[in-house]
Symmetry: C3
Amino acid sequence: MLLHNDRLFPSEPSALKVARSLYAHIRNLPIVSPHGHTQAAWFATNEPFPDPATLFVQPDHYVFRMLYSQGVSMDDLEIGQPVVKDPRRVWRIFASHYYLFRGTPTRIWLDYAFQELFGMKERLSEKTADLYFDTIAEKLKAPEFLPRALYEKFNIELLSTTESPLDPLKAHQAIRDSGWKARIVPAFRPDAVVDPSFTGFAGLVAQLGAQNGEDTSTWKGYLNALMKARARFKTLGCTSTDHGHPTAQTADLSQTDAAALFGKVIASKADAAEQELFRAQMLTEMARMSVEDGLVMQIHPGSVRNHNKFVFERYGRDMGADIPGPTGFVHALRPLLDRFGNDKNLTIILFMLDESTISRELAPLAGHYPCLRLGPPWWFHDSPEGMMRFREQATETAGFYNTVGFNDDTRAFLSIPARHDVARRVDCAFLGRLVAEHRLDEDEAFELAHQLTYDLVKKAYRL
Amino acid sequence: MLLHNDRLFPSEPSALKVARSLYAHIRNLPIVSPHGHTQAAWFATNEPFPDPATLFVQPDHYVFRMLYSQGVSMDDLEIGQPVVKDPRRVWRIFASHYYLFRGTPTRIWLDYAFQELFGMKERLSEKTADLYFDTIAEKLKAPEFLPRALYEKFNIELLSTTESPLDPLKAHQAIRDSGWKARIVPAFRPDAVVDPSFTGFAGLVAQLGAQNGEDTSTWKGYLNALMKARARFKTLGCTSTDHGHPTAQTADLSQTDAAALFGKVIASKADAAEQELFRAQMLTEMARMSVEDGLVMQIHPGSVRNHNKFVFERYGRDMGADIPGPTGFVHALRPLLDRFGNDKNLTIILFMLDESTISRELAPLAGHYPCLRLGPPWWFHDSPEGMMRFREQATETAGFYNTVGFNDDTRAFLSIPARHDVARRVDCAFLGRLVAEHRLDEDEAFELAHQLTYDLVKKAYRL
Amino acid sequence: MLLHNDRLFPSEPSALKVARSLYAHIRNLPIVSPHGHTQAAWFATNEPFPDPATLFVQPDHYVFRMLYSQGVSMDDLEIGQPVVKDPRRVWRIFASHYYLFRGTPTRIWLDYAFQELFGMKERLSEKTADLYFDTIAEKLKAPEFLPRALYEKFNIELLSTTESPLDPLKAHQAIRDSGWKARIVPAFRPDAVVDPSFTGFAGLVAQLGAQNGEDTSTWKGYLNALMKARARFKTLGCTSTDHGHPTAQTADLSQTDAAALFGKVIASKADAAEQELFRAQMLTEMARMSVEDGLVMQIHPGSVRNHNKFVFERYGRDMGADIPGPTGFVHALRPLLDRFGNDKNLTIILFMLDESTISRELAPLAGHYPCLRLGPPWWFHDSPEGMMRFREQATETAGFYNTVGFNDDTRAFLSIPARHDVARRVDCAFLGRLVAEHRLDEDEAFELAHQLTYDLVKKAYRL
């Protein structure tokens, strides 16, 4: 066995016993995945996944960033290529470096898929590379490994993808039209048309106007077009927006000033500070629209994107070279909160990449403002230690009920059950310790385990 | 039982055994409470506390901020009202949301009072709301629940309140005059007359002058008046000052520049930066006075007060909407330390709301400067995890002896024994782990447990 | 016994069992010490160490900063004096304050030396002060306590000192010439000739020119002189450089702009910002040289040096008054990384004093850039809790293989075995917990224990 049944639980017997019981209680609950980056097209077309390298290595920046950090060439891994030409060669490179992932969540996620989906029993290594490749490649051809079959096998109740307002959502529509009874919905991610630093921003905004029958050369038409795009997403089940700004800065300009700033931005005359101010203003505009249409806001700030110039120029975005920076919330969110912070119809879910903010800013904010909730630990912190630190640093001030369950936030469809399993285990480990230290009664821990796994996410995301 | 005898101790048996022994050794030591926000008037008049809602809900921002964060109306809780009109209704709202406090220190403090003082055995909930209300309301009428009786029952050796220099301290005087043998002393908190951003600052400074027979329109008269007010506090047992500035910034201007700045400030012509500079200068002036008169300084920086505009405008200050921000000490304290940092007659106790400063700045500062000590984890960090992280992050560099025992820092008189009990248990848990991991000898742990509970606070606060 | 055989291991039996086995496997591996501040002259002359106070108290700022923080006079400890006149008196002061070190790594290091080298069995205290003094003083005279004998007894395979480019390295040459088969090498630390804020900077740069036959009044001659000095260090076994800048800021100016800046700096006309820019540029120049000559770069940023004005003026540098400040890497390193971040011939080892950067910036950077590695927790964090937090916060994103084993980084030669022992124990404790929680297989833990102790350091430092 690659995986022990008690993995991630405390080794101390009294806490272990509670953690085991709690986990038994919730391990089979359906997966609710309200935020992620899988592709609706997989489920619309239901084509088989091509091969192990294309499935596990090429799209996963957690995987290839680690290999790259240890001197493996991204070209050798065929990163950024439209098709992997020599998947077995890529797989062998990956396998012979698999030891690099010791102690990382990637290792846990992959071992889970290898064991649970593909029945592997011996650890991946140079020696077992071909056995793995052949076994996985073979199984991927089988009907039970098609995307829809896996979706059902994974016991997914809801899966949200993340899409641009410019996306026609044809795949989502096709899934609906197919009559397949799965709930796959889009989240509205407008970064490309609200962040002036995006390449081709003005053209994208014009496209937004054209698609929605609005004149987006005016501030009012621009806002109308966004509102219409949101409405279109809602017809396909969307309940949330998502905002991946460099910072959490918000602003609350007068509409006159906002319109003037928009004019500058759309004319590509805005400097860096004005671009930041525009993004800030747009978060507040998005909150205003959310108050109207009920979409839950997600804010994912603090990533310094494309940090490696060479990698960006050669391979493009999302190549494992995004590095978090210090992030502030307490001053940054104030303009938005001054305006809408006490509105009962607003929910904003905050994510962080800077752990120093958990106990200092995020828990106190979420433990006071009725609109604020804390998203689960994100990205580099979506890991056993990261999740445990999050619970330890957030719970005493924000409680459990200002958190929103788990997000897998993944491009790697096959990792979804593994990621949810890790989150469930870590929550049970945390609750188990609280019970073993007599800080929580056991009946409460059972109730909480269920809520952290299932109820809070449905409530927070209005599902 | 609501509370287990081993709560907050490690569940691992060898560490648990040591923690239990240590706790048995110190659990009954008297409470020394050198910093807090109880009201001397309670003990001067010795009137019964009115009802459960007025006692436990209305004044406790830890309680109602959590309820508010989950959509409970502050109006329904009668927050900010002079008298609670329908205490049973408020209590029922509170009881039916009591589950929100799972995993928080508030839950531990309240359960302690419910069990130890009021003999409750079943958990507070919607179902038990009336039982709790009736039981507590009944007991509050009994003589053994009068403030003075509780003070004695709590085994308090000293209790410090926190008062403005403008306070006539009549209640403190009345306690002394009554002949009751309790040691209730004021701490000198001059924020309202040294922080120009306080509403009505100039008028308050004028009042300070009038009270002390000094012309506070001049810098010299202003300093004299503060010195006289400090002397007045000392006659009633005061041994410490307290400073709740937005930052830890200090300054060391020439007296000419300071006088000019004071002129600007008092004429309400100072901008935000000048107000900050004035506060910074005043910390250094306060240190100078402390060198003279021996009052121990406490600095509580880093809270962004009244963050929620709506709540502030409707309900006022201290309504659960204060949010910490990033706080720096290493540069901020330097002007003061350059001047007085090596003075043997000065003690400055530093508090923090930004945990990233513990290992980075605070422990190295306190582990070097003879005048600096670290206050216990404050406010949002006055919690089992917060205290444990503080010990883990401070001890290796600052040692135990540059810390000062526990502060309850509370407005909630009935929570005092619970808060000290939590601190004692967490210290015993930490020491128990050190012994179980053979990082400290058991005899040393016993000595330390006593010192952390009793001796260090008396030494640091010069009691 | 002062020390328990299981010290620093988890007390939970299943994790303890693994930690013990891992430790048994690696405890006797040779010590590789690639960065530190011992003196080559000790081994060149092989004179006995003078007395206990001169050995343990006077040079160790960890020791006397703690004593000073608790009111012990630095004069009474004869700090900063060329010779300790009354070593027994100093020793007695130290012994009577030894309790201050409870819970600190200093205590562990000292107890290790006391027990393992000097055979002490009772704890150091006022009572045992003279017994310790006499025993240690006596043993120091014995041949087996001479520096070379201790070096061999400690099983040191390599020891690096840290030297200025101006140092003639006579002691290193003398060791080589003596025929003694030890590997003692210098690291190249150019701060004094690349940081314009150093006292006498221009004169030191001129001296650098004179020593290397270059005209260091020109930018080109200056760079040539540095290159030659590096080459000279390499002939004596040097494999690394070290840079202790106030920040991690780098720059990548054109050579024209860099030459102009150098002109300003050497003429003492650069302001603080220009001095910072020059240091930043020099880090990039050093990286360029490292790409050429293969020396591994170490960057130790973030210390605010000489924070205590009085102590600096009276006693000088390195007197326990250096305090860390907030440190940024993500933006600061970008200019250097844009230029050389993907170069296969470059290794940069990053150290930190600001733990909030571990999970936020350092692990993501090292988990991507092929040139970056994470140094072990430095200075105030070279401690059991600090090391454990480092592993917990770095491993999930950077893995184990982007770390470089342990640095003792000490001036205290006798503490070297103790420091490595602590690091080995903490690594075994961390690995033991991962195994006990089924997050790592036991065979992998054995391999990792060996690599963390021995292999990674040799690889990273190119030894």
